[in-house]
């Protein structure tokens, strides 16, 4: 057992080194000194209190989406629709806040109800993908992809239609809510202790859910072998649906927090790619919840840090995605190679 863990670790570090090397080659090819570039990423992410704050602001939604997709991955489901589920969370939250903002209810309660609505929205959208799979035989990858497009269209429609700003509608979204409907932030920053706390709590929850409970084990059985799980007494399609709903709830919460704590309005592309990034993190940690938090932090660091790349070298900040994808690819490749070698020996 022990040696297996070490071998795993060796393969994964190997993949990391290789990913760094290839990224360095790409950087060098476009005429940017790689080491300096890496340095500026680090500086961009960790160099100041402001950058640390941005790092954490990228971390918490990623934690939530990773927590969510870990549940669906456990059940053997590829919840590609996670982006749409974040978006629906944001839409439902915005909707609830708009409904109640002129009411006499206390602001805290309105925020709470808004977030609850977001959770519900995410769960509903995921439930839709699940229902399509369970009752309609539509693979969750295609269903999710379709629903992602629908959610984007819905956001655009709302931002430019019924919920548009007074005067001219714009890509910068709906009219921001009043300050009283913002989640409280750390003094002098845009970072809310609430969103950070909730995200960490969610990850801890998912960790224990998957590792220590009958529910988690049964999910895993469904994911590994549906037929065997059924014969062992697990109600299989119900568990698949539950996995979708739970995942939707977590990522819907991410969407809700983007509205209440970060943007204070609904804007196009509010999911910010955190859903797909969460899928990458989950794959990278081989669906083990324990490593999800640090890896998510690492990815958040790459995202925030590469903004510095843009400032210094004029390189699109989406360059971090190149490294992240390379890393995931190489880790998966390493796993494939290891399996092959195992078979041979």
């Amino acid at each position: 057992m022990k040696s297996k863990t070490w071998i795993n670790l060796a393969y994964q570090s190997g993949a990391l080194v290789l990913a760094l090397l290839i990224t360095a080659l790409i950087l060098a090819a476009v005429g940017i000194p790689p080491l300096a570039a890496f340095g500026s990423i680090l500086k961009g992410a960790l160099g100041s209190t402001a950058s640390l704050q941005y790092l954490l602001m990228a971390w918490f939604p990623l934690l939530l989406t990773t927590a969510g997709v870990l549940i669906t991955f456990s059940a053997g489901l590829w919840n590609i629709g996670v982006e749409g589920q974040i978006t629906l969370g944001a839409i439902f939250t915005t909707w609830m806040l708009r409904l109640l903002q002129d009411s006499s209810l206390p602001a805290g309660l309105i925020i709470f109800l808004g977030i609850l609505a977001g959770i519900l929205g995410g769960a509903l959208w995921a439930g839709l993908a699940g229902a399509l799979k369970t009752f309609g035989g539509v693979n969750e990858i295609f269903g999710g992809l379709g629903l992602n497009f629908v959610s984007t269209a819905l956001t655009i429609y709302l931002v430019f239609g019924p919920w548009k700003r007074p005067g001219v509608a714009s890509m910068s979204g709906t009219l921001p809510f009043e300050r009283s409907l913002w989640l409280p932030t750390f003094e002098g920053t845009n970072l809310s202790p609430w969103s950070l706390g909730v995200a960490i709590l969610a990850m801890v929850l998912v960790y224990f859910l998957l590792r220590g409970t009958h529910f988690g084990l049964r999910l895993k059985a469904v994911g590994r072998n549906m037929k065997a799980a059924y014969l062992m007494g697990v109600p299989t399609w119900q568990y698949s649906m539950l996995a979708f709903l739970l995942c939707g709830a977590f990522v819907g919460l991410a969407g809700a927090l983007q509205v209440t704590a970060v943007y204070h309005c609904l804007l196009p592309n509010i999911s910010g790619g955190y859903g797909f990034l969460g899928l990458l993190v989950a794959m990278l940690v081989n669906y083990q919840a324990l490593w999800a938090a640090p890896i998510a932090l690492f990815f958040a660091l790459l995202n925030t840090g590469s903004i510095q790349l843009q400032i210094v070298y004029g390189l699109a900040s989406s360059f971090s995605g190149v490294f992240q994808s390379l890393l995931v690819l190489l880790v998966l490749l390493g796993e494939g190679v290891r399996q092959r070698l195992l078979k041979k020996s």
């Binding site: 220590g212 409970t213 529910f215 084990l217 037929k227 065997a228 799980a229 014969l231 007494g233």
Partner: protein, 496 residues
């Protein structure tokens, strides 16, 4: 050619596959080698044909000791073997396959070869076009090709390993005629089989192997009972077993009908009492699988009623049946029974009724360790199930069954297992019976059906016999029923 085997030993790991076998066969004899699966027949034949080397012992051909290093070596000594699955090269022309293995010359002379081939084929009444492609042949024709090839290569001792599996009745008749013809020419034929009827109908003498030992021989007229007794070490289906005297009825089927896209099973009525074992026999796909799954609620029946201990469960799902003490063990262990990637402990936890929200891993590990010991599983609580061998997987599946059980439904419980595992698994199943569990099981192994069933249902193309007392059955009659013969004779009188 006279063949003599002296004190042949072969050990595979812990298994003593051949334990000191002595056998002498005069030329011109059709020698039957009888034994159940795993008795050591194939091992002995592979030793003789050079596929494996014996750990000890010697082989004499016409009184001369020989050492056979390889199959090619064997054929030089005049010994050729036909395997259970004919080992040829499908995309080739028949004649090329025929020439293959012949020594001498870089360019084989196809013309003479074709002439020889046709002459030999005519002699045996085989109709094969040498220019056709091998994959156009049926299993029986491939066998004929292989016979011709071995004879052409000069074989004077021919070994047939389960040759009647997978060939038609007409081809079987042809094969038997060819074997008799060869014996008449002075060739020595070794005919390996676990099918009593074939051996009885063909062989001049029979040697019986059991668990690696030569336990006896026989000459015609054969007494089936004594052959079976030697094969299994005890008389099977002789003593009338009646576990049902005064016992409670566990399962009651009333006019059960079920169908899929191929088969329609109509109006099966059956009462199974506590502790009783019902064997479901038939060629694969004759309806026994469908029937078994409908009895467990995995396939919805189309008519009739299913009562488990008096409770009507007709139309309910497998999970309801499970709640009422039914367990189903599928034949496809890793496809349906076990979840690859999960450990034994995780399986044990899954199979139990969950208690509380959190899993008590320490308790579960201890429980798993107990199961591992009780069921003789070679593995640890942390072993992923796919790392276990077939027999261990089957024992693991058995160990997952809840306690107590009313009804146990088994698909091929011992398929692919060695004899040790088979015996062990049945001993565990019989323990369950003693505690009142009723068993329905499917097997394509006639001996297994006869040995372990109290009563037997035979399936043929969706038709089902009334329950037949196993004690009144022989493998002969059972084999005929499976093959669709003798069905009208079944009077209503045998219904119990």
């Amino acid at each position: 050619m006279n063949v003599e085997l002296r004190d042949i030993h072969k050990i595979f790991g812990k298994l003593h596959a051949n334990a000191g076998i002595n056998l002498s066969i005069p030329a011109g004899t059709i020698q039957g080698i009888l034994g159940e699966n795993g008795a050591g027949k194939s091992t002995l034949m592979k030793v003789l044909s050079g596929f494996i080397r014996a750990d000890q012992g010697e082989i004499l051909l016409d009184g001369r000791p020989v050492v056979i290093h390889s199959p090619a070596d064997a054929i030089r000594h005049g010994v050729g073997m036909l395997h259970q699955d004919p080992l040829d090269f499908p995309p080739m022309h028949i004649i090329d396959n025929f020439i293959l293995g012949r020594r001498g010359g870089i360019f084989p002379n196809r013309k003479t070869a074709i002439r020889d081939f046709n002459k030999l084929a005519e002699e045996f009444g085989f109709k094969i076009n040498p220019e056709a492609s091998v994959d156009s042949l049926t299993v029986g024709e491939r066998q004929q090709l292989e016979i011709l090839r071995l004879l052409w290569l000069g074989a004077r001792v021919l070994i047939f390993d389960e040759p009647t599996t997978g060939i038609s009745a007409a081809q079987k008749a042809k094969l038997f005629a060819a074997l008799k013809l060869m014996a008449g020419q002075g060739k020595t034929i070794l005919f390996v089989s676990h099918k009593l009827e074939d051996v009885e109908g063909l062989c001049h003498r029979v040697a019986i192997l059991r668990q690696g030992h030569l336990v006896g021989d026989a000459v015609p007229p054969y007494e089936t009972r004594s052959l079976v007794e030697m094969m299994f070490g005890k008389a099977i289906g002789v003593e009338a077993r009646n576990p049902c005297a005064g016992a409670e009825t566990i399962l009651r089927l009333q006019d059960l009908s079920v169908e899929d896209y191929r088969l329609k099973i109509r109006d099966v009525s059956l009462e199974v009492c506590s502790g009783e074992v019902i064997g479901l026999a038939g060629m694969e796909g004759s309806g026994q699988g469908l029937f078994l799954r409908s009895v467990g609620g995995m396939v919805r029946s189309t008519g009739g009623r299913i009562l488990l201990r008096g409770r009507d469960l007709t139309g309910r799902s497998y999970h309801t049946f499970k709640k009422h003490g039914t367990a189903f063990l599928p034949a496809a262990r890793l496809e349906e029974g076990l979840a690859a990637g999960l450990t034994l402990t995780e399986h044990v936890v899954l199979a139990e009724q969950p208690r509380g929200f959190f899993v008590n891993w320490e308790n579960s590990r201890q429980l798993t360790q107990k199961r591992i010991e009780a069921f003789n599983i070679r593995g640890t609580p942390a072993s992923p199930v796919e790392a276990l061998s077939g027999g261990n997987q089957q024992r693991a599946l058995l160990s997952l069954m809840r306690e107590p059980l009313n009804l146990l439904l088994l698909e091929h419980p011992t398929r692919g297992l060695d004899i040790e595992s088979t015996i062990y698994i049945w001993s565990k199943l019989k323990e369950r019976c003693a505690r009142g569990t009723s068993i329905l099981f499917i097997s394509s192994d006639l001996e297994e059906i006869l040995q372990y069933s109290d009563r037997v249902l035979v399936f043929f193309a969706g038709k089902v016999t009334p329950p037949l007392e196993a004690s009144g059955l022989t493998s002969q009659t059972l084999g005929e029923l499976i093959g669709g013969k003798g069905w009208p004779d079944l009077g209503a009188g045998s219904q119990s």
